[in-house]
């Protein structure tokens, strides 16, 4: 049954392959710069590589926004997102799965009374606006530079054509890589907490993790979309949406792909942070909207005044309508799945507000006056706890989100043998491994308790001061801590 639930995600992946891959190589194949088969082979290989190598970053953000923890819930969220895109696309809006999946996750959060991480949401919404703007700037710059080079070089037209063909292949490969890296998060992001895959141990040291299998399956669904259906969409993209010269299309695809790459690459993140600059949020963005931005950038480069406000308006409208529609559709579907089909669309958690929890909430700079009056209470569901918090007067979503995280009861029990087996010295320092082992047989009721303990035991678990240059290190450390916690989580 779990595999059946995965189908909606795979359908979304197929959709992405069929539609978005066309955006990347549509112009090249319709103008006969590249053979369709060649384009399909290149795109398929690089989509897979992108998803497997750089796909984790953006997928992690989706997971942070809404921890969809039951596979029937993930199925419903994915299905609602796909259906919303289908319906709104028919209405002629420039919609994207990025917006609909976010809306659907928020719908799930509302349905389950789980608070939404406002910080992640703000990052995502900001990136939607940044996406076409940056794509426009990059495409403009790429076009300007290319034109300058070509005009100055005294290459024969035929040679230039051959070089452009090679450049097109490179750009398509880069575009496919970025598409895989960024958009795999839309396909598998909501399944990360409820994945049906388990680790496959090939040898003592070589393990194919469940996460990798999930990413591979998602990427494969995109590839199948490219192989089976992209020939229908490439014709449309190449000829109807925008008729560009090969030179313009190289610039547009490069610009759009660069944006997608920036929004998914941990490498760039690391590089920017290392020189003390803020990094790009690792979030899923729409390649269609990036390409529309890129086309406008080229238009601007050519005539200096070309800005299609109608299309801009349609994109803006898409930003508002898509997540709203998706959230509403998701709410309805979740209700049906839970009450008509009797499916578990989310897992219930318990929460407690004892002395230690309140102390931890205080350390997060959240007022605890009301909580102090009602100490030592246990709540058996998200709804119950949320209702309690709202009665106490908590209205700020980020406060509620953090209180939820701190008060949530999760059980952890450390096993030093398991730590030895799971924690590779290549990934963790000896000090980190020893600190985990030293907690043998100890139990923790909250995740933060285990994390606090580890931070106390080893400096290697402590975050560095929150400045841009430490951002990457701290994020990686958080991921490591979460992974360690997952090892010892008792379901």
């Amino acid at each position: 049954m779990a595999w059946f639930y995965l189908l909606s995600g795979l359908f979304l992946g197929w959709n992405l392959g069929a539609n978005d891959a066309g955006n990347i190589f549509g112009t090249a194949t319709s103008t006969k710069v590249l053979k369709y088969t060649t384009a399909v082979v290149i795109s398929s290989i690089f989509v897979l590589l992108g998803a497997m190598i750089s796909g984790y970053g953006a997928a992690h953000t989706i997971g942070e926004l809404g921890d969809v923890n039951a596979i029937a819930g993930s199925f419903t969220v994915s299905l609602s997102a796909a259906l919303t895109v289908f319906l709104l696309m028919k209405k002629g809006l420039v919609v994207s799965v990025s917006q609909s999946i976010i809306g659907a996750i928020i719908g799930w959060n509302l349905f389950t009374s789980s608070p939404t991480d406002i910080k992640s949401l703000a990052e995502i919404v900001f990136s939607w606006i940044l996406n076409p703007v940056l794509a426009g700037i990059f495409s403009f710059a790429a076009y300007y530079v290319l034109i300058r080079i070509l005009k100055k070089s005294k290459l024969h037209l035929l040679e230039t054509d051959q070089h452009l063909k090679r450049l097109t292949i490179l750009v398509i490969a880069f575009g496919a890589y970025s598409l895989g890296a960024n958009n795999i998060s839309k396909v598998v992001g909501v399944f990360m907490s409820s994945s049906p895959f388990t680790d496959i141990r090939i040898t003592e040291t070589f393990v194919i993790t469940g996460m990798y299998q999930l990413f591979f399956t998602g990427a494969l669904s995109i590839v199948i979309g490219i192989i089976t259906y992209s020939n229908k969409t490439t014709e449309t993209v190449g000829k109807r949406i925008f008729k560009l010269t090969p030179l313009s299309s190289i610039s547009v695809i490069f610009g759009a792909s660069l944006v997608l790459f920036l929004f998914s690459s941990t490498m760039i993140d690391k590089a920017l942070n290392s020189v003390g600059l803020p990094s790009f949020p690792l979030v899923p963005v729409s390649i269609t909207q990036a390409i529309v931005g890129g086309v406008m950038g080229i238009g601007f480069a050519k005539s200096g005044r070309y800005l299609n406000y109608k299309i801009l308006g349609k994109i803006g409208l898409g930003w508002i309508i898509t997540p709203l529609a998706s959230a509403v559709i998701c709410l309805i579907f979740l209700f049906i799945a839970q009450n008509v089909f009797n499916r578990e669309v989310y897992k219930t958690f318990s929460f407690e507000t004892n002395k230690e929890v309140i102390k931890q909430i205080m350390s997060a700079e959240i007022p605890v006056d009301y909580l102090l009056k009602n100490r030592d209470t246990t709540f058996n569901s998200q709804q119950e706890f949320r209702y309690y918090l709202s009665r106490l007067g908590y209205t700020k979503e980020d406060h509620i989100y953090n209180i939820f995280k701190i008060a949530k009861l999760e059980y952890y029990r450390i096993d030093s043998n398991y730590a030895k087996e799971k924690m590779s010295p290549n990934r963790y320092t000896q000090d980190q491994i020893n600190s985990v082992k030293s907690l043998h047989n100890q139990s923790f009721n909250h995740k933060w308790m285990l994390i606090n303990k580890l931070e106390m035991l080893s400096e290697d678990w402590q975050s560095l001061p929150a400045v841009y240059s430490n951002e990457y290190y701290n994020r990686e450390l958080r991921i490591k801590l979460n992974t360690v916690c997952d090892y010892f989580y008792i379901k």
């Binding site: 103008t31 006969k32 005009k151 037209l157 010269t245």
Partner: protein, 213 residues
């Protein structure tokens, strides 16, 4: 492998343009020998022009086939073929004029001979500039405009020369009207070569805009 193929094609395009240029020069030579009444050299020029025109036709067809069969320059292919075809028309025009001289034997008054030579010289200058413009389109697009301007200049000059020549022909009293009308045709046809060169440049202007906007 593909670059080797394109190199060969580049050479063929250059050869084709050389032939059009040579065709113009043969025309100029042919007219000169006709007026000098040197029939041997005139026939020689006529034969050379005929061979050049045939070779150019073959080359043009080969280029066209290669451009399509190897799907080269898909965006500019139409423009390039159009340019080559219209350049070929200039060469055809040159051949037709010299054949016309050979067949119709026009009786050109001696005092107008230099004027005819001047007209031919100016028209062929337009052809030369047109060929340079087309060549630059392939290799150095930034200077195409200069050559187009030169072509237009020579076309206007040949217009003026032909106009003056036609007026002078019809103002004369020493030759028959039939003869006037006959030699007028030659002035018109020589002038038309410059017009045809200008037509190529008109196409070229659009092709340049299309290539880099």
């Amino acid at each position: 492998m593909l670059l080797k193929k394109t190199k060969k094609l580049e050479v063929q395009i250059d050869e084709f343009l050389d032939k059009v240029l040579n065709g113009g020069l043969y025309l100029k030579q042919g007219i000169k020998y006709y007026l000098k009444k040197d029939s041997e050299l005139f026939i020689d020029a006529l034969n050379n022009l005929d061979t050049t025109e045939n070779d150019a036709d073959t080359l043009r067809r080969t280029i066209e086939t290669k451009l399509y069969s190897h799907t080269l320059i898909p965006e500019q292919r139409g423009d390039v073929l159009g340019l080559l075809e219209s350049a070929d028309k200039v060469l055809n025009g040159c051949k037709e004029i010299l054949f016309q001289f050979s067949v119709e034997n026009p009786d050109i008054p001696q005092d107008l001979e230099d004027r005819f030579l001047d007209l031919a010289d100016t028209s062929i200058s337009a052809v030369e500039c047109m060929i340079s413009a087309v060549r630059s389109y392939f290799t150095e697009i930034q200077i195409v405009r200069d050559y187009i301007n030169k072509t237009i200049f020579f076309e206007k000059e040949s217009d003026k020369l032909a106009d003056k020549l036609k007026r002078d022909i019809f103002e004369r009293a020493d030759i028959e009207l039939s003869c006037k009308m006959h030699i007028r045709t030659f002035a018109v046809n020589i002038e038309k070569i410059a017009d045809a060169a200008e037509d190529v440049c008109d196409r070229l202007s659009i092709a340049v805009i299309k290539r880099y906007g």
